[in-house]
Amino acid sequence: MPGRGRCPDCGSAELVEDSHYSQNQLVCSDCGCVVTEGILTTTFSDEGNLREVTYSRSTGENEQVSRSQQRGLRRVRDLCRVLQLPPTFEDTAVAYYQQAHQLAGIRTARLQKKEVLAGCCVLITCRQRNWPLTMGTICTLLYADLDVFSGTYMQIVKLLGLDVPSLCLVDLVKTYCSSFKLFEASPSVPAKYVEDKEKMLSRTLQLVELADETWLVTGRHPLPVITAATFLAWQSLRPSDRLTCSLARFCKLANVDLPYPASSRLQELLAVLLRMAEQLAWLQVLKLDKRSVVKHIGDLLQHRHMLVRKAFRDGTAEMGAGEKELQGQGQGQGLGDEDVGSSSLELPAGKRPSSPALLLPPCMLKPPKRVCPAPPVSMVTGDEDISDSEIEQYLRTPQEVRDFQKAQAARQAAQGTPNPP
């Protein structure tokens, strides 16, 4: 380049600036001699003018993902870590969250819904991999209301067309029972209350299976049944020391919440066990009650299939015949009386004939809370004449209209003056 000097080697004036590499150089185009070099390193003041490009910006990763979605994805990952789920679960849950976020109805939803959505994706993943996780647990972790959670869950299952299997009761029993703090002695758990985990689990599973067979599980929340079964299993393994312990105290010892329906599930299960005990000859003479039957739970469970068959008769076939009596119209008539009497699981043994009770869900055995009379047959055709008088009863008179307008005006005036004298 003219005016930039000459090459010290060959004297040529053809010098070119080579900024091809990271270091600027002035090079002679004739002989290739490097006349001058630029600075390889930067000074402090130079670096002040440099702009660093972060990795995520250089890859453009975050340009396609909104802030709320990023927050949601972080939430999904945090939930998976808190629940100690396998890594593959996290990937699936994240994928579901991303799919859900693309739906218009979810993208524009409130933050509360998006928070809950993270829990829904984790729950769906766990259900599909048969990992027992209840909605109650997720709601507790999210501090969310079950109503909000259920709405979002049903919506997302429908929108994404997902196939979500039911919660496996056996797995739930194993997980839930393992959370009871009764397998090691501690200052809060005396030695007589400590139990072997495997024994307790095995007996609880048998009791839950019995509850399922006798219609105590279908249509009900699973946890209260499992809590009641765990309590009975624990009591029956050492009844002499544990019969005095109540369900509430048991849950407190085990450091587990007591679900409200657990007490009634417990009573139902005890009633079933009492019915079964009546079929065992050596227990009939003992005149057992709901406390003493606990001591014999081991024997009852050992023969449970046979005892259930003997203690209960199939309610399905009986329903048609005995249905009117069971409806609780208060008209026991012969066979009806016996059916009503034997259908109540609460009556003490010995006070009525030991005919097998109906094996039906408790909701079918209780009399209805209110009698629903059959509606009268309507002869309306839809084309009847409509009388003027009938319509006029729904119209205001001119005086009523004036009065209504005065009242409205007075109300508006009162609302207009917030601090009346």
Binding site: T134, M135, G136, L146, S150, Y153, M154, V157, D163, P165, S166, L167, W215, T218, G219, R220, H221, P222, G315, T316, M319, G320, E323, L360, P361, C363, M364, P375, S378, V380, T381, G382, D383, E384, I386, D388, E390, I391, E392, Q393, Y394, L395, R396, E400, V401, F404, Q405
Partner: protein, 184 residues
């Protein structure tokens, strides 16, 4: 269950929802002023809520002239009620007509009178059935043909909804019973 008993399982209707076009614009404020049985809170909902005693029904009247009538126990009752609302609007001075009357939804119930095991039912009908005992005690069965939703409970009571024609219910109930008869 013998075939004769299946045939007798006619669902009892509890609610019929219909729509009708009154064919004229409505001044909702003036309707709320002139009618005794109307309520109107524009900040909460942009329609007048009107009720009549016989048939015991509720109607939503929109400013476009469209009306929704709910609470009828049969298609005929629903039609009679809709006609009465239209007559009330006429008496209030609007040129109301009775166009495009259509039954939109019917809700009924029936009782198969035997208990139903919901867990195996949801396993065998996974693509149609949804059962979440933590949320709701009944099984939600979305039938495709006919397009009906059934709520099936352990007690054997079934709630049906989504039909626009009464016969749809009877057909769906019959199909449903055939499936439920043997295993559950």
């Amino acid at each position: 269950m013998p075939a004769s008993e299946i045939a007798e399982l006619v669902p009892q209707l509890h609610n019929v929802v219909c729509t009708v076009n009154l064919g004229c614009k409505l001044d909702l404020k003036s309707i709320a002023l002139l009618a005794r049985n109307a309520e109107y809170n524009p900040k909460r909902f942009a329609a007048v809520i009107m009720r009549i005693r016989e048939p015991r029904t509720t109607a939503l009247l929109f400013s476009s002239g469209k009306m929704v009538c709910t609470g009828g126990k049969s298609e005929e009752q629903s039609r009679l009620a809709a006609r009465k609302y239209a007559r009330i609007i006429q008496k209030l001075g609007f040129p109301a007509k009775f166009l495009d009357f259509k039954i939109q939804n019917m809700v009924g119930s029936c009782d198969v009178k035997f208990p139903i095991r919901l867990e195996p039912l949801v396993l065998s009908h996974q693509q149609f059935a949804s059962y979440e005992p933590e949320l709701f005690p009944g099984l939600v069965y979305r039938m495709i043909k006919p397009r009906i939703v059934l709520l099936i409970f352990v007690s054997g009571k079934v709630v049906l909804t989504g039909a626009k024609v009464r016969n749809t219910f009877a057909f769906s109930v019959f199909q449903d019973k055939k499936e439920l008869l043997h295993s559950y």
